[in-house]
Amino acid sequence: MTTITQEPPAALAESSATEKAGARRAGSMQLVSFKLSDETYGIEITKIREIILVGAITRVPETPHYIKGLINLRSSVIPVIDLRARFGLPESELTQDSRIMVLNVGRRTIGIVVDSVSEVLRVSEDQISPAPPTVASLGNEYMTGLVRLDEQLLILLDVDKLFGEESQAAMDQAVAAG
């Protein structure tokens, strides 16, 4: 007997609202910032499940070039995405500082390879400005905005858009094919 969890849409919306409220207490939010090439990026902390060392990655055929492969995360198999490749940044060797950030995207768990993880920081809403038409190497549809820090600019990524939509498209494709 398959048991269903009756989660009313209303309640769902509510719970994610509280989640956001936690992260954005008093008009601020917590980010984890990381480096990719020379740029600094940030992802909302609530999306991040954990940060792990880069271990053995099993490559998978017939996938886009930015899919680095699969890893074993405590007995569950998750895909790892090479963000450099995803954003069209030049390839580089993995270093001592390279990490895999494990993210929750929708119902999925995925990993992204980043050059290094910098810090956890809290930014206030007014520090965030909307993204200009073109920043760095990626289209601004993946960006929530830019955060002005003391000396640098931090690109705030929208993880759901970055991977959610793409896997959704792939799903549709698979369904249509199947």
């Binding site: 099993t58 996938t63 699969l70 007995s75 999925r108």
Partner: protein, 950 residues
């Protein structure tokens, strides 16, 4: 009106909802199954006919519908509630004989049940299409109105009352109005108290069981007659039971015992004794009481047969008290049938139905519920209680095929006043018009009298296991039905499937961990190396010792003492240093033994982890029977729609499969069964012309074969048309003309799995909708299964589905290709050969390998699947793993075969998406992920490439 999810935010309701879904699934399955019986019966009656149906069957359905109604009402599921209420009303009207059950009614009910399933499905999956069932509800409403039984029974309370008095009593046909002896249910409104103290219940049970034993023994001793003292003793016992039952709140038992007591008291007052019938009834009462008590003790919901029995008690009491000249009288009827009369049981049933119209029927011998299964029957006896004259009773007994019939009035008092009647030889009167329907159904198909009489549809019924033969005299003769019915059921517990999945995952991890231990152990063993160093070390030590000794001798000889002395000291020091080293190494030597211990422990761990995995897997196994049973309805619907005749034969229903697999198999199987009936089975005329039985057979079979489960769908229809398939395939460009000429029929049949190939002359709304055969194949392959089709023209088609025992574990061959480790499902592996350079060549530019004269296409993984990143160069002389899929074989070049392993399958799609050529992933002993190759896809890809080149 809509069951909006917002209503169940409450967690409690959530869990109730789970229960409801569980329960309603079962009830629906039950309803559907019963409906099919009813439908069969209605169908057999013929167009436009109707007749009284087995009340037990209708009762059963009424109860099931009522349960769903009640539960849905409690949870506020308005739509379900309204719909089931209507359905319930139909069953209620039907069992009261207020609504003739005909084909229209069953059709409507089927629709209603379908809607109900849809509504319940929607609860499980809220995204599903909304279900509108107003039309059905209205149609039922109209039906009821037309029949004039628009329910007075509108409230839940009414329905509950109707339930608590098991309506026109099971086993007793509805009483004709006016002849009801005791004015409804004597126990009506008598309810047990809701809280019964555990402690006192146990005491009561002990006490009452003792009393009942005494009662039974005394009754058996009396048999009939009995003195006043005997009766007083019996009355006392009944009184005791009544008292103790009432004191703890078991009011129904109390009231019932009270009625028994009443009967006895009346006999005592009238100075009479008990007649045979009374003893019978009383024995039956004690029987039922003790059954009830056993069930109470066991804690299972007790059956409550008291209402019907109470009525019987009142009947015998009234019979005894009413003056012999009274309107009501009991008659004993006896008929003798022609020897070898076909379907004599059904004739007897017909007599029962006729007598029922006169009054109340009892003491049928053989019991009424067995009648329709009886082939041969010479004598039939029963009692009827009626206010009609005896002549009328006699008349009713005269049915075609009856040689001799007898009816006599039963004695009223102790044994006098019998009214014997001379046996009346019945002539063979033509059946009266109103019996036509029943007669017809007994005769069945004129062409196939024999077969029809065996399967002749009479009021179908539910299993009669819990009914008690009224003639039974001793409890021992009752032992059988009781054990059959009262066997302690295996205790079960409902578990959320997610939890099982989790447990399965953990068990899988355990298996992986064990593999890690083995690896660690192996490494340890390798690291410790051989024990040669022990010997070497010992040799060094003894060499030093020897040198030391020689030096001492020389020093003593006085030769260049100073130099030697220095050397000597060095040696000493070395020896000294060596000593702890030796001790340490000694303990390393010990470590060798520890490693062996480790392996022993790993071995044990393996046994336990395998055991856990096996147990968890067993837990997920459910019999395939209920899934198969669903297709009875499918076959029924198609045969009705197409005018074909077919029946579904089900075998191997106890074969167990993984629950998930059962869930996934539903759709493909529906499609295959539909196909079998719609395309396979010929129309009756064609079948007859071909000399086949008019009724086609579709067989669903499930069994184990090796490490797989096989499901077969067989039909005895016309078989596949190879020419047509080939023509279609050529049209669609699936095969080339050159290939087509070389193909064997078997190869042609396999084309049916190709996308876009449907062989139906016309796309009917039955097989035309839903999935194509290619989707069926894809679905089965998703379950890591294979599917194969065999056909013999004119004899039928067999589709064989082969599935792994479980979805979670896959016995695999581990191989290394270009530095990556892959798992190949062992199921697909035909053989493994080492390939010499001379065995490899190319044909039209494609690499091939020659293995013992066979030429196979040599497939390199990197040629068929696009890998990004550098691939280690593959071996020049690879090992060939020959794999087969759907009769096609390819040779897969691998660098190294690592061995066999049972891998735990992990879905890639869970966190990513399905990848072409890859069936899944598994985790290796060292924690790395390895990919499981999808052989079917590889074979397809390889042959496509070949086609592109060639």
């Amino acid at each position: 009106m809509s069951d909006s999810p917002a209503n169940f935010q409450d967690e409690l309701i959530d869990s109730l909802l789970g229960d409801f879904l569980d329960e309603s699934d079962q009830l629906l399955a039950q309803l559907n199954e019963r409906m099919l019986k009813l439908d069969e019966w209605v169908h057999a009656l013929g167009e436009g006919q109707s007749g009284p149906c087995d009340p037990e069957l209708l009762n059963d359905m009424f109860r099931a519908a009522h349960s769903i109604k009640g539960l849905s009402g409690m949870l506020g599921l308005t739509e379900i509630n309204v719909l089931t209420h209507k359905i319930e009303n139909v069953f209620d009207a039907a069992r009261r004989n207020e609504l003739p059950v005909n084909a229209d009614v069953t059709q409507l009910l089927f629709m209603g049940l379908d809607q109900l399933s849809a509504l319940i499905e929607r609860l499980k999956c809220p995204e599903a299409e909304p279900v509108v069932c107003d039309a059905v509800v209205e149609a039922i409403q109209r039906l009821l109105q037309k029949a004039g039984v628009e329910k007075k029974q509108a409230t839940q309370a009414d329905a509950d009352r109707a339930l608590s008095s098991p309506p026109p009593a099971p086993a007793q046909p509805p009483l004709a109005p006016g002849s009801e002896p005791a004015g409804g249910d004597p126990l009506e409104g008598v309810q047990n108290e809701s809280e019964i103290s555990e402690k006192y219940l146990a005491i009561f049970l002990d006490e009452a069981e003792g009393a009942l034993e005494g009662l039974t023994a005394a009754l058996l001793a009396i048999e009939s007659g009995g003195t006043q003292d005997d009766l007083k003793h019996l009355m006392g016992t009944a009184h005791k039971i009544k008292g103790s039952a009432a004191s703890i709140g078991l009011n129904r038992i109390a009231k019932f015992a009270h009625l028994m007591e009443d009967l006895l008291e009346q006999r005592i007052e009238q100075g009479g004794s008990l007649n045979e019938r009374m003893v019978d009834v009383l024995l039956k009462c004690t029987e039922e009481l003790s059954r009830h008590l056993t069930e109470l003790r066991r804690g299972t919901p007790p059956s409550d047969p008291f209402s019907a029995l109470a009525r019987e008690l009142l009947t015998v009491r009234d019979a005894a008290s009413s003056p012999p000249s009274g309107a009501l009288a009991s008659y004993r009827c006896e008929v003798r049938f022609q020897p070898d009369l076909p379907a004599a049981g059904l004739k007897a049933e017909l007599i029962c139905q006729k007598l029922t119209k006169l009054g109340e029927l009892a003491e049928c011998d053989p019991p009424r519920e067995q009648l329709d299964e009886l082939e041969h029957l010479e004598h039939f006896r029963c009692c009827v209680r009626t206010d009609q004259p005896i002549e009328l009773v006699r008349e009713k007994l005269r049915v075609a095929g009856v040689v001799e019939s007898r009816a006599e009035r039963l004695d009223q008092g102790g044994g006098e006043a019998a009214v014997p009647s001379t046996p009346t030889l019945a002539a063979e009167p033509g059946p009266s018009p109103n019996d036509q329907a029943v007669e017809e159904c007994i005769r069945g198909e004129p062409a196939t009298t024999d077969a029809a009489s065996r399967t002749a549809p009479v009021a179908p019924q539910v299993s009669a296991g819990n009914r008690v033969s009224t003639r039974a005299k001793s409890p021992s003769s009752e032992a059988e039905p009781r054990t059959e019915n009262g066997q302690r059921p295996t205790e079960t517990i409902r578990v959320d499937i997610e939890r099982l999945d989790h447990l399965m995952d953990l068990a899988g991890q355990l298996v992986i961990n064990r593999a890690q231990f083995v690896q660690v152990g192996d490494k340890l063993r390798a690291a410790l190396g051989s024990r040669r160093w022990v010997i070497a070390l010992n040799r060094v030590a003894s060499e030093l010792e020897r040198m030391n000794g020689q030096m001492t001798a020389r020093i003593d000889g006085g030769h260049t003492a100073a130099t030697l002395d220095g050397l000597h000291n060095h040696l000493r020091r070395i020896q000294h240093e060596l000593e702890p080293l030796r001790r340490d190494l000694q303990s390393i030597l010990q470590a060798h033994e520890y490693v062996e211990d480790l392996f022993e422990a790993i071995h044990q761990l393996g046994r336990v982890s395998d055991g856990i995995q096996q147990s968890v897997m067993d837990t997920r196994m459910v019999p395939i029977g209920p899934l198969f049973a669903r297709f009875k309805r499918v076959v029924r619907d198609i045969t009705r729609a197409t005018g074909k005749r077919a029946r579904l034969e089900i075998r191997g229903e106890n074969t167990e499969l993984d629950k998930r697999m059962i869930d996934e198999l539903g759709d493909p199987l529906v499609h295959l069964v539909r196909n079998a009936v719609d395309h396979g089975i010929e129309p009756p005329e064609v079948r007859q012309a071909a000399g086949k039985p008019v009724e086609g057979t579709v067989t669903l079979d499930a069994f184990h074969r090796g490490n797989s489960i096989v499901i077969e769908i067989r039909d005895d229809g016309k078989g596949l048309d190879a020419d047509r398939i080939l023509r279609k395939a050529l049209e669609k460009g699936l095969v080339s003309q050159a290939d087509a000429e070389k193909m064997t029929p078997q190869q042609i049949y396999q084309l049916i799995w190709e996308p876009g190939l449907s062989t139906a002359e016309k796309v009917t709304d039955i097989s035309g909708r839903g999935m194509g055969m290619d989707i069926v194949k894809a679905k089965i392959e998703e379950l890591s299964g294979t599917v194969d089709i065999q056909s013999v023209p004119g004899q039928g088609t067999t589709i064989t589905i082969k599935l792994p025992l479980t979805l979670a574990i896959l016995p695999s061959l581990m191989v290394e290709i270009g530095g990556d480790v892959f798992a190949i499902p062992l199921e697909a592996v035909v053989e493994i050969v080492r390939l010499g350079r001379d065995q490899m060549s190319t044909v039209q530019g494609r690499p091939v390998a020659t293995v013992r004269g066979r030429v196979l296409s040599l497939v390199r993984l990197k040629d068929v699947l696009a890998f990004h990143g550098a691939t280690q160069t593959e071996s020049e002389e690879p090992t060939l793993v020959i794999v087969s899929e759907g009769g096609q074989e390819i040779g897969l070049a691998v660098d190294r075969v690592l061995g066999e392993e049972d891998v735990v399958i992990k879905s890639i799609a869970e966190n990513y998406e399905n990848v072409r050529g890859i069936a899944g992933a598994s985790i290796l002993g060292d924690g790395r992920v390895s990919l499981i190759l999808d052989i079917a896809a590889l074979v397809a890809l390889a042959s496509r490439q070949q086609a592109a080149v060639g």
